[in-house]
């Protein structure tokens, strides 16, 4: 398929990504910040943006757009953490346990003004793909989006966790392997 890209010598594409086909859901209770994020994404080339102002509205928009596979599907979510009716973690946990794969595996970037390591671990354990610490900037958002596109991590599904592999590095382990069983590897 010719997608109009030339190969360069350093393993990088010569042409930037075309985000026109992307539909991004912004979940943010502060309308001013939501509009800032929307303008930022649209200028970056994202084709369409949907805004939800709280946890309940986020679930509604996700169900509305991702119930079946279609052009309307949300491809990525920018998720605020603190909202009046719950946290971003509530949205994440609901999504990652959803029976519909089109909802379960939507990539999520958590955006929060709360900078504690506790939040980073909480969002990671709830199934976030990336975390951006506010204040927002185009540089920060684009960097995390790029990471999602270029370095997607496999999803882990176990009794206690469903989400992207929490290990970002593949390091050799020298200790005793105490796992009783091997994980099943699935390619979709």
């Amino acid at each position: 398929m010719d997608i109009g890209l030339k190969e360069s010598n350093n393993g990088k594409q010569d042409k930037g990504y075309d985000l026109e086909g992307f539909r991004v859901l912004i979940v943010e209770d502060a309308s001013f910040v939501a509009n800032l994020l929307a303008s930022c994404l649209l200028e970056m080339g994202v084709g369409s943006v949907v805004i939800a102002e709280n946890v309940a509205a986020a679930k509604e928009k996700i169900l509305e757009n991702n119930a079946v596979s279609s052009e309307k599907n949300i491809d990525m979510i920018l998720l605020d953490w603190l909202m009046p009716d719950g946290t971003g973690g509530d949205v994440l946990k609901w999504m990652r346990r959803h029976k519909n794969d089109i909802i379960r595996f939507i990539p999520v970037i958590v955006c929060s003004a709360y900078t504690s390591t506790k939040l980073v671990f909480e969002s990671r354990d709830a199934g976030a793909n990336e975390v951006v610490v506010k204040p927002i900037s185009a540089g920060k958002i684009s960097k995390r989006m790029l990471h999602l596109i270029d370095h997607p991590r496999p999803y882990i599904q176990s009794a206690n966790f469903i989400g992207p592999d929490r290990r970002r590095k593949d390091l050799a382990f020298a200790g005793e392997d105490k796992r009783k069983e091997e994980a099943e590897i699935i390619s979709e």
């Binding site: 393993g11 990088k12 042409k15 990504y17 970056m44 909202m83 003004a113 506010k134 790029l146 999803y155």
Partner: protein
């Protein structure tokens, strides 16, 4: 029997963005600059927005103070905390260091806010007062002499009333 699964998904985002599987991609720097301009252009609306959020903080605080129903306190505190978080957030986005400083301090304090302690009421009110004052002066630099004076006033209130 296995209980854990490792699921390798097709990279649909990369395909949708017109990327090549084995190549590292990028977002055009020109587009990132345009996106940052879209954020920066909203700076002219920041002052009005900050005023709105300050009024929301003030309103939420009045609701908390006048609340007699203990079962509603946690919900009202959450609303108050959220507004404090919002002012910190927008202030830092537009490099208003002074408002960001007060917003951060108020948000952190509201985490341990005990409505049964009058000293806590005084500390919250001191935060709200200096935030309105800071907004009125329009000073964003937290090292500015007037900013230092406002910070000193707040710290004095905290030191005087903290347990």
């Amino acid at each position: 029997m296995t209980t854990s699964k490792i699921i390798h998904r097709q990279n649909k985002l990369k395909a949708k963005a017109g990327g090549q599987e084995d190549k590292q991609g990028f977002i055009e720097p020109k587009k990132i600059a345009l996106a940052q301009s879209a954020i920066d252009e909203n700076e002219e609306n920041y002052t009005d927005e900050a005023q709105i959020v300050l009024q929301q903080i003030n309103g939420a605080w009045k609701d908390l103070k006048s609340n007699k129903d203990k079962s509603k306190e946690s919900e009202l505190k959450k609303i108050f905390y959220n507004y404090a978080n919002n002012i910190k957030d927008i202030a830092e986005t537009f490099e208003d260091g002074l408002m960001g400083y007060f917003g951060n301090s108020l948000r952190d304090f509201s985490e341990k806010l005990d409505m049964s302690k009058t000293a806590h009421h005084t500390i919250v009110q001191a935060h709200i007062d200096v935030m309105f004052a800071a907004h009125k002066t329009g000073i964003k630099d937290k090292e500015h002499a007037t900013a230092e004076e406002l910070k000193r006033m707040l710290n004095k209130a905290i030191e005087k009333h903290i347990d």
